[in-house]
Amino acid sequence: MTIEAALSNDIFLTYLVIVGSILAFAGVVLGALTLIGKDVSSIWKTYRGWLVMIPLVFGTIFLGRTATIIGVTLLAIFGFKEFARATGLYDDWWFAGTVYVAITVLGVASIVTDPRLQSVGWYGMFMALPVYVIATILLIPIIRNRAKGQLQRVALAIVGFVYFGWMFSHLGFLANTPYAYGYLLYLIFAVEINDVAAFTCGKLFGRHKLRENISPNKTIEGSLGAVAVSMVIPWLLWFSFPHFDALQLILTGLIVGVGGQVGDLVISYIKRDIGIKDMGVTISGHGGILDRVDSMIFVAPIFFHMVRWFHGLS
C-alpha cells in the first residue's frame, strides 16, 4: 500500500467511485426532501458527519500502509479512552496509561518488519502481545501494593485492551496483506451497509423485538434483513477479493452480517450497564468513536483469521 499503488489500484478507485456516487445520490435525495418540506435536520447532521469521515478514511488508506495502521491505532486509543472514561477506569492513570502504551505497541508491532521471518508486520508479536499486556496489568496492583478495588480495574483494563485495542487493531494489520485495499475497503463498506440494512429493514418490517433489554429499537426482522443483505454483498463486490471461492464469500457475508450486529449489541449492553446513551460526542450526529466502530471491532478480527486460515497473510 503506497500512494502510487493506490492511484493505479482498480479496487481502490472503484470503491472511491461507488462511495462517492452513494454520497452524492444521498445528498440529492436529502436536498429534494428538504425542498418538498420534510424535516430531515437530524439526517442532515448524520450526513455531514459522513462528509467528514469518508474523506478521512479514503485519505488515510490512500496515504498507504503506515498511515492506515496509525489511523486504526489512534481510533483504538481514543475508542478505549471513551470506554475508560465511561466506566471510570480513566480516573486511575496507571491502568489507563498502561493500556494506552499497550495499544501503541500494537500499532508498532503492526508496522515493523518481523525480525526473524522478514515479513511485513510482526505477526508473532502482535498475537503474543495480549499475554505480556495482561501480565503487566495484573502486576500493577502488586507494584502499587494495593488490593481494594483492584480486580475491577484489572478486569476493565483487560477488556479495554483486548477488545477495544487488540481485536480492533486486526483491522490495521490487514494493511500488511497483498489484498489490503480490497479487504479494508470491503469491510468498512459492508459493515456500514449492514448497519443501514438493519435499520431500514427494521423500520419497514420490524415487528418482534430482538433483545429488548439491551437495545429496544432493534427487531428480529431488521436483523434477518441485514444478514440477508450482507450475504449478497460479497458476490456483488467479488472484485475486492477475486481469489475467494464460494465458501469464503458465504463466510464473509456471515461474519459481517452476524458479527456486525453482535458488535453493535456488545457496545449497547456496555452502555446500558453503565447507564449512558452515547459513548461520547466525538463525531457530530454519530455519537462517540465507539458508537461508530462498534460493529467493526467484532468483525475485523474474525474476518482477519478467516482470511489467514485460507490464504495466509502474504
Binding site: 471510570g88 489507563a96 496509561g97 449512558i276 460526542v281 457530530s284
Partner: protein, 240 residues
C-alpha cells in the same frame, strides 16, 4: 454477586469545545503531559530570555491551598509566578484569567486551558459567581490560585487600586495570601505588543498573610485590599 459501580464523568456528553470551557475541569492525561512539557519549556525560556530572578521562594507554603496576589503589568506576571511554583503542583495552580479575553475564542480557550490551566473569571457580569468558584477551588486542599486584584494590566506602569474580590474571598478564612511583585514586566511586554522583549525580570515573593481574625464585612474587605496593596507596592519599592 453485588454489582459494580461505574462513575462516568459529568462531561461525557460535552463536546471537546464545551469541556475546554467547563470548570472545574476533568483531568486528561494528554493535557497534563502537554502542560508539564510547556511548564518545563517556560522555565527555561523565563530564565534564559528574561533572566528571571525569583526572591523569596521560601515564603511559598509547601502544602495546603493558598493564594498568590501580584501586580499586573503584562502576561509575564502569570508566567513568572508559574515558574516560581514547584513543577509537581503546576496542575493544581489556577491563574484567574479574564473570561472575556482568555476564553474568547477556541484557540485561546485551548491555550489557556492546556498550557496555563487558567480559571475563567468573569470580571464583568458574574463576579460573585466567579468568586464562589474560586472559594470552592481553595476549599480543596492543595490548590493554588493566582489573582491579579487590579483586574487588568496597567498601561502606565503605575499600580492600580486593588479591587474588592480578593478581600471578599479571604476575610474570615485562614487561607494564606502571598503578596508578590514582578518588576520589569511593563518594559518586557507592554500591553498591545505581540511579542515580549528580552528585558530583565525580578519576582519578589513576600511573607504569607492570613485574615482569619477579621469578620466578613465591607470594612475588613477594604482593609485587606489596602493591606495587600501596600505590601505588594512595598515589595516593588524594595527593588528600586
Amino acid at each position: 454477586m453485588k454489582e459494580w459501580e461505574y462513575h462516568p464523568p459529568p462531561d461525557i456528553d460535552a463536546t471537546m469545545i464545551e469541556s475546554l470551557r467547563d470548570f472545574p475541569r476533568q483531568p486528561y492525561m494528554l493535557v497534563y503531559a502537554m502542560r508539564s512539557l510547556a511548564a518545563l519549556l517556560l522555565r527555561g525560556w523565563m530564565k534564559i530570555y528574561h533572566r528571571l530572578k525569583v526572591v523569596g521562594c521560601e515564603n511559598l507554603p509547601e502544602s495546603g491551598s493558598f493564594i498568590l496576589v501580584c501586580n499586573h503589568t503584562s502576561h509575564l506576571d502569570t508566567l513568572s509566578l508559574l515558574t516560581a511554583i514547584p513543577l509537581k503542583r503546576i496542575h493544581r495552580t489556577f491563574p484567574a484569567a479574564a473570561a472575556d479575553y482568555f476564553f474568547s475564542s477556541l484557540p485561546r480557550s485551548a491555550m489557556s486551558t492546556i498550557l496555563i490551566n487558567a480559571l475563567p473569571f468573569d470580571r464583568k457580569l458574574k463576579g460573585a459567581e466567579s468568586l464562589t468558584i474560586c472559594a470552592q477551588l481553595l476549599a480543596n486542599d492543595g490548590n493554588i490560585l493566582i489573582i491579579f486584584p487590579e483586574g487588568t494590566r496597567t498601561t502606565t506602569g503605575k499600580m492600580g487600586r486593588f479591587r474588592s474580590g480578593i478581600g471578599r474571598l479571604v476575610a474570615g478564612t485562614d487561607l494564606p495570601v502571598i503578596p508578590c511583585h514582578l518588576a520589569g514586566g511593563i518594559k518586557a511586554w507592554p500591553k498591545g505588543k505581540v511579542l515580549p522583549r528580552p528585558h530583565k525580570l525580578r519576582l519578589n515573593i513576600g511573607a504569607p498573610q492570613t485574615f482569619g481574625h477579621l469578620e466578613k464585612n465591607a470594612e475588613s474587605v477594604r482593609s485587606i485590599c489596602q493591606n495587600l496593596e501596600d505590601r505588594v507596592a512595598q515589595l516593588g519599592s524594595s527593588d528600586a
